[in-house]
Each structure stands twice: as structure tokens, then as C-alpha cells.
């Protein structure tokens, strides 16, 4: 019988520093690992342990995988000491990704906070591969300071894509920043809805899709803001942050009521979690 717990050896091919504590790694697994946008993998640092990450690369690229990782715990600290050519392990993919067929012909709002833009990047790249299938892709990204912004060189490129817009904010005023200031919900407050006149492609809250990823507190407030704008709970997709440890719906660490976030998530709709008092 197949061993579910064995990591597949993967070589670090490239390391790119995004911010002082966020790094993008490119891995080349020795056996192919294919994934859908939104699914996650378990990354092993040999002898240290595993942690769950959603890849940030294009799911249509199958020979390598990129993951953007913030240094916050024992696994990520150990990973930070590794160099190009070193070997790590990858298991997966696990969980549910975004069902892109549901997104067709709709406006898609992507809301990221901090390193939360990383998992959304694989979704964004998958959308770009077939951009004409969607009415509009609006990327709204908040970071604490200009120094905390990830994909600095990519964001302007994304903004040039057809049907796509990129809006950014930082939490507090900063001498190097001339753009919008405030937490990411300020970018939702000004969302052009169908009722707004003179907007080329307004959001129809009845059908528009929102994909949200960021720290738990951000998910909570973005969820409230989107519901306030009339978005339907079944169209708001949150990336749930839980301690997905085995990825197989067994170890229990990521349980949220009767859900295993590793199997029923990590992408879950606001409708799925609305019965919980504070699911984030």
C-alpha cells in the first residue's frame, strides 16, 4: 500500500528574497507533483519537520514549484538556512483548490494581506492563462509598510494584463509611499458596484467572486466588508489558516468543528463557515 507520509525529494533551484522575512523558493521535485490553485503541500525540512504551504507558482507549470514563505517558526527558520542545491521534501497536494469553472464570466476580486498574496499568486497566474474567460480581475493588496510588499517587480506587470487592475495600500503613512493608506478593507470600501454609474466594469455583488487570503484578523474584517457590499457568502472564498499537519484528514490539528481544513479547505466559502462564531 502507498505510503502517505513519505516526502518526495525536491531540490532548491532558486531563492529570491522578497522582504526582510519573506522569501520565494523554486523547488524541482524528483517526482512530478501537480496541483490546482488553492491546494497546499507539506514541505519538509529534513530532520526538522513539516509545515503546510500553498504554492505561489502557476499550477500549469508542473516540473517546478514556487513557494513564498515567511520566516515565523521552526520549519521556516531552518529552511532559511538552506542554499540553492540543498534538498527538501514535499508531500501533496492536499485539500480543495478554487473551482475555476465557477469563476467563468464573472468579476473576480482578489484580496491579499501581507504574505497572504503568495497563495493567491498561483490563482492569479492561472486566471491570467485564460484571462478572457473572466469579466475582470481586480487585485487589491495591503501590506504593513512599503518594505513588506511582496512581488514588487511583478505587481506592475500584473497591472498591464488585460481586464486586470491592481490596487495597493499600506497600513500607515510612510515617507516612501504616495499611494492609498489604511488597512486593506479601505480598498473594499471604494469597490465600484453595479449601482455606481460611469464605471466600465462594475462588480455585480450577486455573482462576483472574492478570493481572500491574509492573517485571520484580516479575513474577519474583509469578510464583514464584502458581506456588507452584498457579496454572497457562497462566492467569498477564504484561505483558512489552520495547523494542517498530516494533510490527510486524520491527525486532527486543523479541525474546525466537523471540518478538517486540510480536506474541506484550505479554501472555504463564507457560507461553509458562517455557522461558527469566530472561524478565522
Amino acid at each position: 500500500m502507498k505510503n502517505l507520509y513519505r516526502p518526495i525529494e525536491s531540490v532548491i533551484e532558486d531563492i529570491k528574497q522578497e522582504t526582510r522575512n519573506i522569501t520565494t523558493y523554486r523547488f524541482r521535485p524528483k517526482e512530478p507533483i501537480t496541483f490546482e490553485a488553492g491546494q497546499f503541500v507539506e514541505l519538509t525540512v529534513p530532520g526538522v519537520g513539516e509545515a503546510p504551504f500553498t504554492p505561489s507558482s502557476n499550477p500549469n507549470v508542473t516540473d517546478t514549484m514556487e513557494i513564498t514563505i515567511m520566516r515565523v517558526g521552526s520549519v521556516t527558520e531552518a529552511l532559511a538556512k538552506l542554499k540553492v542545491g540543498d534538498v527538501v521534501g514535499i508531500r501533496g497536494p492536499y485539500g480543495n483548490g478554487y473551482d475555476l469553472s465557477e469563476f467563468e464570466g464573472r468579476e473576480i476580486l482578489i484580496v491579499g494581506g501581507g504574505v497572504g498574496l503568495a497563495p493567491l499568486r498561483s490563482l492569479i497566474l492561472a486566471l491570467f492563462d485564460d484571462i478572457n474567460r473572466y469579466k475582470k480581475v481586480s487585485i487589491r493588496y495591503g501590506a504593513r509598510t512599503p518594505g513588506d510588499i511582496v512581488y514588487k517587480d511583478l505587481l506592475p506587470e500584473w497591472a498591464k494584463m488585460p481586464r486586470t487592475e491592481v490596487l495597493q495600500t499600506i497600513d500607515e503613512p510612510h515617507p516612501e509611499w504616495s499611494g492609498t493608506v489604511g488597512v486593506v478593507t479601505v480598498l473594499i470600501d471604494e469597490l465600484p458596484l453595479l449601482t455606481t454609474v460611469d464605471i466600465e466594469v462594475p462588480f455585480d455583488p450577486e455573482t462576483a467572486i472574492a478570493c481572500v487570503c491574509g492573517p485571520p484578523i484580516m479575513l474577519k474584517f474583509v469578510n464583514m466588508a464584502l458581506l456588507g457590499k452584498g457579496f454572497r457568502p457562497e462566492n467569498i472564498y477564504h484561505s483558512m489558516e489552520r495547523n494542517m499537519s498530516c494533510g490527510l484528514g486524520k491527525c486532527g490539528h486543523c479541525m474546525l468543528g466537523e471540518y478538517y481544513v486540510c480536506k474541506d479547505g484550505p479554501v472555504m466559502t463564507a457560507a461553509q463557515i458562517e455557522k461558527f462564531e469566530d472561524p478565522f
Binding site: K2, N243, L248, G252, H253
Partner: protein
């Protein structure tokens, strides 16, 4: 179901025959602290121990350890071998009670997709051991103060899920075959059993009824206060009610370990010969780090949230996910609690607070 009678002497012989090509564990009495004799599982080696003890209530240990080891290596890496390296010798476990056998059903639900829910994620380590482990259950001939199986859908004997069942009666046991596998264990051993007599079956029923009545009587005060059936419990109580019942909890997690249906684990990686090994270790949802994520956020940082999660997992989450209430009423979490937390009182308190809120 096929039934027969076996004398104690012949039962010892039967166990001896099994022991030739199986690992056989039987309940025996150990003389431990304070001269208190407590039955626990022992491996049958050269001889079947005469101290084999089939009377009493559930043993201190659950049989889950036979299929779900407290620690087990589940992977060595680096490795290109996709197959699992599982060691699961044929094993016979004599002694599980009705509550224990029901408890094993949770392992099937979580780890065994072809039987149940988890789709493609079959766990080779658990399945191999489940497949190679024969369950010879035993009727309870007594109950503990803490037993409440009859109040959560159980009986003080196994009604399904066993291979063989032993019901102690005068001079021996009524032996019931519960599965084809159990039939296999009895093949070639006809010389050790005789046809069961009607009075022996009646004696078994009398004993079963008497234990059932004792458990019902002792638990009436807890459960009669609960409105509706146990399958419909809703323990979502106020923070105050849960904080109150958690006062004496020190998060030692003894309840998790003693529980026949706690299936959670932690994967631990460390250096080993030729590389690294990954082991699966029992883990406990009462531990503060159980739900903590990198960076420190914790979905259940408060102890009362964790105790609440544990009980609601047993009564609500497992029911909603697997269609199975996974408290089997064995009472072990009460037995082992150093804070003397009695989950029956917890349930009553939370529901009473809710009703009067």
C-alpha cells in the same frame, strides 16, 4: 450467530493454540501499587497465564494501542520507495469490552477509506494492523462507578465488530462467533467446545441484564436531566459555563490518551541511520500547541476552548462528520482525571446553564 460453550480449562488451551502462530494478548491481574489487583493486557509467551481474568469491567487500557501505536515510524527519508513498510504480525486480543469494540469503529472511519469516509487516503499502518488483529471481546460482568455505556447507545457487551465474544458463565464461557475471521480462529478447535445449553444462554442474559441495570441506575441522575437523545446533544455553551467546568483541568491530556476514540497524532521528524525518520505519535487536543500555527496564532488558546472542543468532538463533530457519536461511555476519562472532572457532570452543567440562560 454461531455459539458454543467452552470451559475455562479449554479456553486456556485454545489461547495456547492461537499463540503458536499469533501474538496473543490476554487480560491478567497484575499486583501493582497498594496490593490492588488491576487487570491489564499481557503478551502470552511460553504458557497461557493462569491469572487470565475475564471478570470485571473494562480494562485500564483501551485496545486502540494494538492498531494505533503510541509511537510508530511511518517513513524513512530520503527514499524513492513509494510503498509503506508495515509490520503487522497476526495478533489476537482477548479482553476488549463493548465500549472498546465500538471505539475501534472510529479508527476505521478516520483511517480506512474503502470502508468509510476518507476517500483516497488509506492509512497502510492502521489498516494492516486492523486486518491482522482479531478481536475476542468479553462481556462486562461488573461496572465501574464511571461506566455509562448504556446512556450513549452501548451495551456492557459487544453487539458487533468482534470476531469472537466470550460471555463468562458458571464453569466457563459462552463463545459467540461474530465474523468469518472469528470462524477461522475456531476452525480445527471443535474438540475444545461443546454445544451451548439453554440454561447457559439464560445465565448470560441474566448477567448482562444485571450489569445493564446497574449502569442505568447509577447514571439516571446525570442523564435524565438531559433533554432529548444523546445523538442530538448540542454542547455549544456559554464561555462562563465552560470556564467553570474547566477550573480543575491542568491540560495533562490523560483523558485523550485513555480514550478509546481519540485518534489524533503528531508527526515528528528526526535524524536516523541513513537519513531521517518520521514517526507518528499520539497527540492530544488539550495540549496548548495543538491548534497553534506558525507565527503563534492559536484557534483554541484558552483551556476551556480545548476541553469544549474535546467533548464536542465526541458528541457533535464525529456525529456530523462520520455519523458516529464517539463517546462510548467507557468512563476512562473520568477514571484518569487528576482534577476529578466528570464529563457527565460537565454535560449536565453546560446544558443546565444553557437552559436557564
Amino acid at each position: 450467530m454461531k455459539e458454543a460453550f467452552i470451559t475455562r480449562e479449554n479456553l486456556l488451551k485454545l489461547i495456547g493454540r492461537w499463540a503458536k502462530d499469533h501474538r496473543v494478548y490476554v487480560p491478567v491481574t497484575f499486583d501493582i501499587m497498594n496490593d490492588e489487583e488491576t487487570p491489564d493486557y499481557a503478551l502470552v509467551e511460553d504458557e497461557v497465564p493462569d491469572s487470565l481474568e475475564l471478570s470485571g469491567a473494562a480494562l485500564a487500557h483501551t485496545p486502540k494501542s494494538f492498531v494505533f501505536y503510541p509511537r510508530e515510524v511511518v517513513a524513512n527519508y530520503p527514499s524513492s520507495d513509494a510503498e509503506a513498510d508495515v509490520e503487522a504480525p497476526p495478533t489476537v486480543v482477548v479482553g476488549p469490552r463493548g465500549c472498546d469494540v465500538r471505539g475501534l469503529a472510529k479508527f476505521d472511519k478516520v483511517y480506512w477509506s474503502t470502508k468509510h469516509f476518507t476517500e483516497e487516503y488509506d492509512d497502510p499502518f492502521i489498516i494492516e494492523k486492523r486486518t491482522n488483529t482479531y478481536i475476542v471481546s468479553v462481556d462486562c460482568s461488573a461496572s465501574k462507578e464511571t461506566c455509562f455505556c448504556t446512556k450513549v447507545g452501548g451495551k456492557p457487551w459487544a453487539t458487533e465488530g468482534f470476531d469472537l465474544n466470550l460471555s463468562p458463565v458458571e464453569g466457563g464461557c459462552v463463545l459467540t462467533i461474530g465474523s468469518d475471521r472469528g470462524d477461522g480462529l475456531m476452525s480445527g478447535n471443535d474438540d475444545l467446545t461443546t454445544e451451548v445449553r439453554r440454561d447457559q444462554v439464560e445465565e448470560r442474559e441474566r448477567r448482562r441484564n444485571s450489569v445493564t441495570e446497574a449502569i442505568d441506575r447509577r447514571n439516571a441522575e446525570f442523564f435524565d436531566a438531559i433533554p432529548g437523545p444523546y445523538e442530538e446533544l448540542d454542547l455549544e455553551g456559554s464561555e462562563g459555563a465552560w470556564a467553570y467546568v474547566t477550573q480543575n483541568c491542568v491540560a495533562c491530556s490523560a483523558c485523550n490518551r485513555a480514550c478509546p476514540t481519540c485518534t489524533c497524532f503528531l508527526l515528528v521528524d528526526q535524524r536516523a541511520k541513513g537519513g531521517y525518520e518520521r514517526s507518528r505519535n499520539w497527540d492530544t487536543c488539550l495540549s496548548i500547541g495543538f491548534a497553534r500555527v506558525g507565527g503563534g496564532a492559536n484557534a483554541r488558546g484558552a483551556l476551556h476552548e480545548r476541553l469544549q472542543n474535546r467533548l464536542r468532538c465526541k458528541f457533535e463533530y464525529s456525529r456530523d462528520r462520520y455519523g458516529l457519536v464517539t463517546c462510548t461511555g467507557c468512563g476512562r476519562c473520568i477514571d484518569v482525571c487528576m482534577g476529578k472532572i466528570d464529563m457527565r457532570e460537565v454535560i449536565r452543567h453546560v446544558l443546565t446553564e444553557k437552559a436557564t440562560a
